[in-house]
Symmetry: D2
Subunit: 481 residues, 4 copies
C-alpha cells in the first residue's frame, strides 16, 4: 500500500539498572521510527524472567503503566516492523523461552536469507516452530547444539545463520548482542550515568538516556555483558565491512551516528554533492520532502545559494488517521498527508529534494501537488542513486517489478513523475558523502539496492532473484562485470 521503504526493527538492551524495564521503554521510544507494528520488553532478575508485548506503538502497548511493572536489573526490548512473518501477536518480540534448565529472551533486527532452508531441516528433525519469524530459528539451533556452554552454543548457532541481523539475547545473568558477518545492521554500546551498559540499534537511544557512547559492534562480533563487565569477541571471521547504506539515506534518525558518522551531517553532504552533480541555477527555491529529506535539502540550498523554504507541510497527526478520502473525494483534491504551500511555491521554479524513489507514485503525487499550488517548474533531485534492486537483508523492498528504476529509464521516470528535470546522486557521490573511513569495497557500505552486489549472498532467494531480473537490471549487471 505504502510506497515507502520500511526498516525492519529496533532493538535495545540494558544491564545493571534497577529500573531496567523503564530504561528499556525510553530507549525503545527513541527507536520507534524503526518499527510501529508491535513492541515488547523482557526483564530478568537473578531469580526469574518476565515479559510483556503487544501490537501497535510502544506507548499503546504500555499504555497501562502496570505492564511496565516488571522487576529486574537487565532487560531487552524490541520495536517491530514486519519484514518477514506476518503481523500477528505471535511474531511480536522479544520471545521469552522457558526451558526446564534455563530461561532466555531473544529479539532480532534484520532478515535471514537461509531461514527457509534451516526451518525445513529443523522440522524434519522434529522441531515445532511457533512463530513465522526468523528470530525463532536461532533458539532452535542453540537448543540442538552439542556445545557445553550457552555461550558456545550461541556462537556455533550464529555461524549457521546468514543475512543481515543484530540479535540480542538475555539470560538470568548475561546480556548478549551479535552482528552479522558483514555488519549490515548497526549495533552500538553505551554506558549510563550509573554505570549500566546499554545496547541499541542507534546512538539516539544512548543520548535520550543521557549516556555515553562506548563503541560500535562490528561485523562478526558478539558482545557479552555480565556482572564482570563487557567483553567483545569475534564469533566468525568478518566477511566484508558492509554497513547498509540505506541506514544513512533513509532509516536512521538524523541525530544518530553510525560508525562514527552523524546521519544528518551525512545527508546534508549528499545534498551539497547533489547540488554539484545536478545543479539548477535557474531555480528560485529549494524545498525538501518532510521529514527525511530536510537535511539533504538544506545542504543543497546552502551549496547552491538558493533560499531553503518550507514548500511542503506534513501533518504531524497523519499516523493516527484511520479514515482515508474515497476515490471520489481524492479526485476533488482532498489530501491529508502533505500540503504544498501556495504562497511559497506559487510562480516559482522549485528544486524538490527527496531521498529515494521507490514506485514513483509518491513522487508523482508530490510533483502534482506543487504544480497545482502554482509552481512554475519542479526539478526533482534524489539524494541517493536509483533503487535498482530489491533488498533481502531486512529492508522491505521485495519485488523488482515494483521498483520504477528497475523498469524505466531516467527520462521515462521523469515523464512518469511529471518533473521538469530529474537527477540522482551517483554511487560515488553517496559513498563519498557518507565518508566512512574504511578500507573495503564501496568504502565499507553495502550498496545492494543500488548496484546488485549482495555482500552476504542470496541463499534461499537466489533462484527468485535471477528469475525476476528485469531487462534494465540485467543490462546494469552486465555492464558492471
Amino acid at each position: 500500500m505504502s510506497s515507502h521503504l520500511n526498516e525492519e526493527c529496533g532493538v535495545f538492551g540494558v544491564f545493571g539498572h534497577s529500573r531496567a524495564s523503564e530504561v528499556t521503554y525510553f530507549g525503545l521510544h527513541s527507536l520507534q521510527h524503526r518499527g510501529q507494528e508491535g513492541a515488547g520488553i523482557v526483564v530478568s532478575n537473578d531469580d526469574k524472567m518476565v515479559g510483556y508485548r503487544g501490537l501497535g506503538l510502544l506507548a499503546e502497548v504500555f499504555k497501562d503503566k502496570q505492564n511496565l511493572d516488571m522487576y529486574g536489573d537487565k532487560a531487552i526490548g524490541h520495536v517491530r516492523y514486519a519484514t518477514s512473518g506476518g503481523s500477528s501477536l505471535r511474531n511480536i518480540q522479544p520471545f521469552l523461552h522457558r526451558f526446564y534448565d534455563m530461561e532466555v529472551g531473544v529479539c532480532h533486527n534484520g532478515n535471514l536469507i537461509n531461514s527457509k532452508t534451516l526451518r525445513k531441516e529443523l522440522e524434519q528433525e522434529g522441531a515445532v516452530f511457533y512463530s513465522t519469524s526468523d528470530t525463532e530459528v536461532l533458539i532452535h539451533l542453540i537448543r540442538r547444539s552439542k556445545q557445553a556452554t550457552f555461550e558456545a552454543q550461541l556462537k556455533e548457532s550464529l555461524c549457521r545463520i546468514k543475512g543481515g541481523f543484530t540479535y540480542l539475547l538475555l539470560t538470568k545473568d548475561a546480556l548478549y548482542g551479535a552482528v552479522d558477518e558483514n555488519g549490515l545492521r548497526p549495533l552500538v554500546v553505551g554506558k549510563l550515568k550509573n554505570g549500566a551498559y546499554v545496547l541499541a540499534s542507534e546512538t539516539c537511544a544512548i543520548d535520550i538516556l543521557g549516556g555515553e557512547f562506548v563503541r560500535d559492534i562490528y561485523a562478526g562480533e558478539i558482545v557479552i555483558i555480565t556482572k564482570d563487565g563487557l567483553r567483545v569477541e569475534s564469533y566468525i571471521e568478518k566477511n566484508r565491512h558492509a554497513i547498509a547504506a540505506m541506514e544513512y539515506v533513509y532509516f536512521s534518525r538524523p541525530d544518530s551516528n553510525i560508525a562514527g558518522i552523524n546521519v544528518h551531517a551525512a545527508r546534508k553532504r549528499t545534498g551539497r554533492r547533489l547540488a554539484h552533480e545536478w545543479p539548477t541555477p535557474q531555480a528560485d527555491i529549494v524545498i525538501g520532502v518532510p521529514n527525511s529529506s530536510l537535511s539533504a535539502a538544506s545542504g543543497y540550498a546552502e551549496e547552491s545559494g538558493l533560499p531553503y523554504e518550507m514548500g511542503l507541510v506534513k501533518s504531524q497527526y497523519i499516523a493516527r488517521t484511520f479514515i482515508q478520502p474515497t476515490q471520489e473525494l481524492r479526485e476533488q483534491g482532498v489530501r491529508l498527508k502533505l500540503s504544498a504551500v501556495k504562497s511559497i511555491v506559487g510562480g516559482k521554479s522549485v528544486v524538490m529534494v527527496d531521498d529515494s524513489i521507490v514506485r514513483g507514485t509518491t513522487s508523482q503525487r508530490i510533483v502534482r501537488l506543487l504544480k497545482e499550488a502554482g509552481a512554475k517548474e519542479v526539478h526533482v533531485r534524489i539524494a541517493a542513486p536509483p533503487l535498482l534492486f530489491p533488498s533481502y537483508y531486512g529492508i522491505d523492498i521485495s519485488t523488482s517489478s515494483e521498483l520504477i528504476a528497475a523498469n524505466q529509464t531516467l527520462e521515462e521516470m521523469r515523464v512518469f513523475i511529471g518533473a521538469d528535470s530529474l537527477g540522482f546522486l551517483s554511487e560515488e557521490g553517496l559513498i563519498e558523502s557518507i565518508g566512512l573511513k574504511v578500507d573495503d569495497l564501496y568504502g565499507g557500505l553495502c550498496m545492494d539496492c543500488f548496484n546488485g552486489d549482495y555482500c552476504a549472498g542470496l541463499y534461499d532467494y537466489e533462484e527468485e532473484f535471477y528469475r525476476k531480473l528485469t531487462p534494465i537490471q540485467q543490462a546494469f549487471l552486465e555492464k558492471r562485470k
Copy 2:
C-alpha cells in the same frame, strides 16, 4: 503542567457537498493542531440533523468509520482545546440543540469575557445550562430574543457577547459564521471544486480539500450561506481591526495565510529581522526549536549567513507517550521529547531561535540539553516580544504569576535559562515582519500579551487583571501611558 501556549479551538463548516461529514472530517484534520482534547461533527440535511462527538484526537473519535456515516449536505465541526470549561464530554462541540420548532448546531473558537455576567443574568431568569462552555451562552440569548427571524435573533445575540471569537451555526437550511467586533480570531471562506462553500479557522483546511480561497471574514462580520448563495454583512460596527498576533507567532500552521499573509513567510521575516536586531556574528550555527520555530530559524540563518543546522530533534511519537520518566530517571538524564545532536552542536557557538518564552522552564531545559551535548555557547533569540501579559481572548496563558517576563528582567531571565545571551524581537519588529497592510493601531494586530492593550476590554476579568499586576507589568503600563 505544560509550559506551552495552547490555542483554543478550530472550526470548520461546509454547505453543499453530498459527503458533508467526510469533508468536515478532512477539514478538521488539517486544524487538529488547534485542539486535541475533543472533536465533533454535526450534519444537516433538509429533513433532520445528527451529530457525533467524543474526547481525544479527531482520528480517535471517528476511529469507528460508522461514526462518520451521517447523511447530509451541510455540516459543521470542531476540534477543541479547553480554554474555558473543563474537558469533560459535555463540553465537546458542536452542540446540537433540538427545539420543538427548529434544530441548530453550534460551535465556537475563542473566549468570551462577559460570559460569567451573562450566565448569571440568564440563570436568574430560569435558564438551565448544561455545559460549562462559553458556547452555550449564545443559544440561550438567541432563544430569548424577541426578534422575528433566526437571523435577526442571532445578530442581536452576537452584539451582547464580548471577547475574541468565531461562531459557526448550522440549521436545516443555512450555515452561519460570525467573527467578534475586533476580528481577533480568524475565519475564512473557501469554495470547493464542486461549488460547495466552506468556512474554516485557517486556509490550510481549504487547501487540504483542493479548494479555492474566497475571502477572510473580518471584524464584526457575519457570513450566511444558503442555497441562494453566500452573503456577508456587518452585525455590529467594527471596534478595531486587531488580529491576534499570536496566530502568526505560534498557533497557525505555517502553510496557512491569515489576512493574506502566509504564516511561514511571516515567521521567516521575524527571523531575518531578529538577525538585525540581535546579531550574533561570533556564532557558528543557527538552530530552531522544532517545530514552530524552524521558519524563524531559517530566516535568521539566511540573513546572518550562518549555516542552518538540525541541532535539536523532536520525537514525532511524543504525543503518544503516556509514560514519563520519574524524577530519579530524569536526573540520570533520561529525556523523551527533544534530543540535542552532539555531533552538530558539539564545540559550537549556537544561536537557538524560539518563538516564545512562557515560564522559562522549557527554554532552560533546552539550553541545558545543548550545553550537555557540548555546545560552547548558546545564544537564545526569541522571534517575538516578551510575553508580559495574560490573554483573555482564547489563549491559554491565564496567570501573570506564571509569566517569567512579567516577573524578571531580561538579564534575570538570561541567567535563569542559562543562555550566554538573550534577545527578543521588538514590538515594531514583529508588527513590521508580519506586515499587514492595515491602517489601524499596531498595524491591525492585537498585541495584548506583549503590551497589555486589550482591544476588546476586560469585563469579567478586569478586577482580577489589576489585582494581580506585577511590579514589572505596572512599570511597563506606566511607561506606555
Copy 3:
C-alpha cells in the same frame, strides 16, 4: 427487536455514609435488572458535587475503579432503560446541574405523560433543553418557580408533572425522593447499620447492603433527608392508590417486597391460582420459562401435584452474545438463548408457565422448541391476564398493533403460538394473588395494560390512544362501561 417487556429504570440514593459512591454502586448493582443501557452516580459533600456516568452495564461504566473515587457522604445513582429519549450518553442520568447559586443532581424512574406539552411551553419561554429525557423537565420547572425555597420550588414543580414516576434529587445538604400521585412506581426507605438512610426502587437494594427496611413512599409523597433526619410529607393529594401490577408480574426481583408483599411469593400464588383457573390434569410435568416465570411454575406444580422440572435451560451468557445466528443457520435449528431438554420433555405432556405474552413470537418459539425436543403436548399457562393495552407510565409497550392480545382472540393466539391449550390468569386472580390489603380500585393496583383503565390519565397520549384502538380493544372497553 426484543418482544420482552422492559422496565424503565432503577434509582438509588444514600445520605450519611462516608463511602456514599460505593454504597450507591452496590445498591444499583442489585437494581441492574431494571435497566442495562446506562448508569451513573452523583456524589455530594458539603463543599461540592461531582458525578460520573456512561453507557452500558453498571460494571462496565465503573470498570475503571477511579470512576468511583468521588468523595462525599451522600449520593444518588441510576440504571437506565430508555423508555423515552434515545439511548445516547446525554440521556444517561443522574443529571448534575451547576447554577451560580446552587448545584443539584436529578434522576428519575418512569414516564411523564405531559412532558411534551410542558417542554413546548418552556421552550416558548426561552428554555434550552439538553437531553430528550423527561427528567430534565422537572429542573426547568424548579428554576422558573417563584417559590422562596428549593423545597417549595420542588413541591410546586412536582404538582405540574403527570404520569408514573419516582424522582431523586440531591443537593449539598439534602436528599429528596418523590412518588407520583398514584404511587405507580415504587420507592422505599431503608436504614443501614451505620445509621445512613437509603432510598431505592426496590427493597433488594436495602438487603444487599445489609440494611433494614423503614417504609414505603406512597402516592403523592415526598421524602426529605437532611442531617436533621427524615421527613415524609404529601406534596399533592393522592389521586388513587395504584401500584403498577407489572412490578409484581414481571419487573421486580423475586426477593424484593413491594408495599409489603414479597414478589416471589406473589408470583407463586399466581401459579397456584392459575392451577385452579386452568387445571391440566392430563399433564405429566410443569416447567417455567426462565427466569421470571420459575416462581409461578413452582406454585402451579405444587398446587396441581405435578412434578416441577427443568425443561428449559437459559444460557447465563446470553447477555454477552453479540453475534446472532443468520436466518440460514436459524432455519437449521441453531438457537442460543433457550434450550429445551430432550430427556426431560421427550414424550411428555408439558405445562409451560410464563408471565406474559407480548407479541406472541417468543411463546411461539418456545413451544416449537419443546415440540422439537419431543414434547407430546404443550399447555401454555400465563400467570397474568392478557396484555391488551399499551402502557404510558414507564413500561416499554408502546403500540397496540404489536400486542397480540389486542389483535387476536384466545383461540387465534393459541393457534399462533402452536400450543395445545392456552390459559391466562383472570384479573381477579391476579389482584387476589398479589393480595394488597388496600381499600381502593383493583385492590390498589394499576391494571392499565390489562384493562385500559389509566389511573393517571393520558394527556399527551390521549389522541394517539384512541386513534390506534383495535376492534378487540374497543369491544373490551365497550363491555367494561
Copy 4:
C-alpha cells in the same frame, strides 16, 4: 480466590458445514460454562487453515464480527479455564501449527499427569516449547514419531500421554477426536441437519445447533472424520471405564446427557436419595444454592414433601462486577452475589441443598446469610460425598490443605459452617443416583476426589500426593484397603 470447583475446558469441532466458524462459535457458546478465561477457533478449508483466539469470554473474543470471518468447511474451537499453564494469551487454544509439509490445529480438555516428564525428555532432545500448556506436548510427540502417516503418528503419541483428556485435531482434510484410556473426560458425536458431523464436550452443543446425537466416544477411542465419513477405533486398550463423577455433580450443563444419563435428572435423583439418607422432617422449606444445586433441591423437596422455595437469589450480573466491597463494607453487610429472601426464610427451618463443599467458606457465608435473614434453623445437605482428595485429571482442586473435608470431621465442618445439621450423600448414593449401567468399578465412574482411587495413576504427582496427605486422608485410605 474463588472456592468453587472449576472445570478445565470445553472443545468443539465440525466437519462439513460451509459456515464452520459460525457453527463452532455457537457450539462453543453452549459450552461457555466450562471455561471463561479464553476462547479460540481454527478453521480449515482444502487450501489453508486460519485461526483467531483471545482472552475472555467467547463473545468478547469475537465481539468484532470480522474475527469470525474465516472461510472453511471444518473447524475446531475451545473455551478455556486454566487448569495447568497460566492464563496468558499464549496458552489460549486451539494452537495452529504450520509446518513445511502440513498444517494442524490442536485443542484439548483435561490434564496430563506425565507432561512434566515428557517435556523434560523432549527438551533434552532439543524441543522448544512455546506455551506452558499440556496441549503442546502432543504435537511434539507427533512430529518426532517415526510412523508413516499422520494418523499413525497421532495414535502412537496418544499412547504415551497419561491423565484425563479429550483432544481435537484438525488438518486440511480430517477432523480427529480422542479420549483418554479411562474415558475420564466426555466427548460426543452429533450430526447436523445438513449432514455435517460435530464433536463436542457435551450434548448441549449438539442441541443448540438443532442436531442429532450420534454416539459417545469411550475410553481409549479415537474418532476420525473425513470426506469419506466417520470412523471410530481404539488406539489403546481401555484401562477402566471411569467417567469423572464431578461432570454429573457440578460441571456439566443440566440439559446435557453424559453416557446417556441426563445431568438434571441425575442431580434430581441425588436430591431424592439425599432426602432418604438425611431426612429433615422438622423442616419447613427446601431451598437450593443457585444455580447448580437447584435440580438436587427440587428432588429433595419432592421426595420429602416439603415446599421448594426461592430462598436465595443470585445476581445474574455478578460475572461482570469488577468492583468488590471493601472489608469495611463487607462488615456492614454489603453482599453482591447472593441474597437471602427475608420473607421466604424468615422464621423458617430451612433445608439448604448444595452440590459440594470445597473450603467451607462459601457454605459458611450462605448459612450466615440465611440466619441473618431470619432463618430459624439451617440444615445443610450436600448432594455428593465429601471432597476428600485433590483431582489431577483436569479439575481445579489442587491442594489437600485447602479441602475442608480433608482436614475436619463432619461435626467440625458443621460447626465451621454454622449449620444446625450437615449431611453428605454416600458414595453408593451418588453412584446409584447417577445410575450408569456399566459393569465396572464404582458403576463406571471415577470417584477420585471422593475416595482417592486414581484410575489413571498419579505419575508426576505421586510424590506430592503422598507428601501432602492429611491425617484424615490417611485414615480414610487405610480403612479402604
